[in-house]
Symmetry: C14
Subunit: 89 residues, 14 copies
């Protein structure tokens, strides 16, 4: 049973850290983009439609890197091939 436990622990810790670390800079990055958007809006209110459209496309792109991390975490928790192989044994 030892091997099952070890694989389990590694999956738990890696899943947590991947999400915990990997969402840090996307969040920071979104904050930066939004901050820039807001000061641009204040500077050029007439271009608000272009600015908000570009912002939302950009945010979606940044969010995608956070989602890569979340996906890897979910795969490690709910669809982990190594865990399945060990259990199947």
């Amino acid at each position: 049973m030892d091997n099952i436990t070890i694989i389990g622990i590694a999956s738990i810790i890696t899943a947590g850290l991947t999400t915990g670390i990997g969402t840090m800079l996307p969040a920071l990055s979104e904050g930066k983009a939004i901050a820039s958007a807001l000061s641009s809006l204040a500077q050029q209110p007439d271009a608000s439609s272009t600015i908000t459209r570009t912002l939302f496309v950009g945010l979606a792109m940044i969010e995608s890197t956070a989602i890569y991390c979340f996906v890897v975490s979910m795969i490690l928790i709910f669809a982990n091939p190594f865990w399945n192989f060990i259990i199947a044994k």
Copy 2:
């Protein structure tokens, strides 16, 4: 009983760190966005409706990355497949 304990510890520590670390930069990022919104409001009070709307959409997006971390923590504490498998045994 050893294995149960080890899985338990790993879950506790990972749950704590994932939330503790993963909410740091979203918080920082929201502070940045709000700071930018406030100085934009001071600079262009007439665009306040666009600014606050963009701000709240952005904050929701940033908050989502913090919530990914919180969700992973909650899964690790209350719906942990590895823990359930070990106990079920």
Copy 3:
């Protein structure tokens, strides 16, 4: 009794660190938002109602990430499923 002790230690340390680390950047972030609000107030005293309203909504949002951490700490101290399971045994 060993297992109980280990689970206990892990819970104590994680609870402390989660709150200790996780409240750092929300605090920094609130300081940033407040600093920005104050200089905005000095720059545009007429918009004080919009500014303070946006500030308080924002502070509540930032505080929420600090509260996630506090909640995880409290769960780990007073409603820890792993601890309950070990004791119940």
Copy 4:
């Protein structure tokens, strides 16, 4: 007696670090907010009542995150459920 000692040590160290680390950035953050308030006062002395009111509300909010840490430390020293459980045994 070993278990009692270990739980005790973990509580002592965690209590100290939680307060020691967790009050660092609230302090920094309050310094930032006060510095901003002071330069705002110098820039717009007429808005001093709004500025100081917003400052004190903000300081209270920041202080709250430092107090979360202090509360967790005090709980770990004087109302630690893990310690009580081990001693009661």
Copy 5:
């Protein structure tokens, strides 16, 4: 069975860290590019088509480095030659 477990753990941890670490700076970098695009739009609304086209080409290029990491993670989880060799034995 020991070797299988060890290879498995190494793959899990490396897969998680590669995605977790490797998507951090692409995200930051995209945030920077978007922030710059938004302030450029505010400054020169007439050049919006050139700006957004350059931005999207650039974002695709940055995203490619994040995808390198994601690809390495996926190879390590689902097409790992070392794991296949060990199992095939």
Copy 6:
């Protein structure tokens, strides 16, 4: 006697580090606030009474976080419940 020694060491080290680390940023923060106050005084000598009053209230608030750390250190050295319990035994 081993347990007494261990509890003692942990208390000594924690007491020292809590004060050593925990007073760092309050000091930095007070320096920042004072620096800001001085440049505000130079900029607006007429508002000196408001500025110094706000400064001293703020310094007291920042000092309070340093005092939390000092209090925890003193509790750990002179009123440590874990130490008392071990000795009483």
Copy 7:
């Protein structure tokens, strides 16, 4: 079989870290270059052809350092002389 496992682990971890770490700064660097290009476009829309041409040559050059890392990772996973030597034995 021990040696095979050890060489395998070292290859997995190194491959992951080389790509994970080595693509971080190229990504950051591309973000910087694109950000600079965008603000240059906003400042001098007439020179857009020279700017975008220089940008794309530069991005290719930066991408080359990321590709060095990716190449080393791929060599370590799919054409590793040390692994081949050990297996061939």
Copy 8:
């Protein structure tokens, strides 16, 4: 005699580090305050009495945090209750 030695070492190291680390940022902070005072004096020589008075009050306040550390060090070297208890035995 082992226990005496261990308590002694812990006291020596903690006393040194507490002073060594804990006086770093107060020193930095005083430098900042003095630098700000000097440039304020250069900017507004007429307000020199207010500026130097505020500076010295502030320096005393910052120095107090350095003195907390020095006090803890001195207590650990010359009035250490844990050391006294071990020796008294």
Copy 9:
């Protein structure tokens, strides 16, 4: 066979890290140079030939330091005298 394995591992890890770490700052540096070139082009479009020529010479020079690292990695993987000596034995 132990020695062969150890030399192999050291070569794998060093080769990966040398490329992974050693290409980071050249990439950053190229980004800086390109960013500077682009803003120079925007500022002085007439000097574009001198600027791009200087830029490409400079990029080649920077790239050379990245290539030193890549060369060392390739030597360690494909022309490693220590590995050859051990195998030849």
Copy 10:
């Protein structure tokens, strides 16, 4: 004789580090204060007497924190109560 050696080593290392680390930031801080004084002198040569007087008082104050560290080092080398107690035995 072991205990004497251990106490000796701890004293040597702590004495060195306390001075080595503890004089770093006072030095930095004095540099900052002097730099500020020099640019203030260049800006307002008429206030040179006030500036240099404030500077020297400030430098003395900063130097005091470096001297705390030096004092602790000297106590640990030449008047160490723990060393005296062990030797006296």
Copy 11:
């Protein structure tokens, strides 16, 4: 044979790290110098001959520090006196 292996490993790792670490800052430094040269060219196109000449002399000087590292690496791989001594035995 153990000694040969150990000397070999130390040489491999040191050679890699010396080049990997030691070429980082020269690269950064060259980027800084080139960036400065380009903005100088944009500002004063007439002085282009002096600027490029000074730049290339400077780059050669910076490159020399990177070459020191590369030389040490090559000595450690191909002309290592310690390795030769051990083998000659």
Copy 12:
């Protein structure tokens, strides 16, 4: 003879590190002060006598903290009471 060796090693390492670390920031600090002096001289050539006098007094003060470290190193190498005690035995 073991104890003599250990005391010797600790003295060597501490002596080296104390000087190596402790002279870093005084050097940085002197550079800052000199840089400030030079730009002040360029700005106000008439005040050169006051500026250079203040500079040299300041440099002497900063140098004193570097000399504290050098003195502690020399004491540890040539007048080490712990070494003398061990040898005298």
Copy 13:
């Protein structure tokens, strides 16, 4: 033979690190000096002779610190008294 190996390893690693680390900041520093020289040339082309002369004297001075490190490395590789003593035995 063990002792020879250990002395050898220590010499190899130290020689590599001393050059690898010790040439980093001289390189950075030269880059800074050259960058400053170039922007000075652009600003005041008439003073080019004084500027380049001061630059080259300065570069020689900075290079000297890099050469100290290179010299120590070469002494450790080719004229190491500890190695000679051990071999001579």
Copy 14:
């Protein structure tokens, strides 16, 4: 012979690190001073004699801290009292 080896290793490593680390910031600092001198020369070519004189005095002072480190390294390699004592035995 063990003791001789250990003292030797400690001396080698400490000598290397003291020079490697201790010359870093003096180099940086000289770069800063020279950069400042060059921009001062560009700003005020008439004061070139005062500026270069002050610069060279300052560089000598900074170089002195690098020389302290080099001296300690040389003492540890060629005039090490601990090594002499051990050998003399």
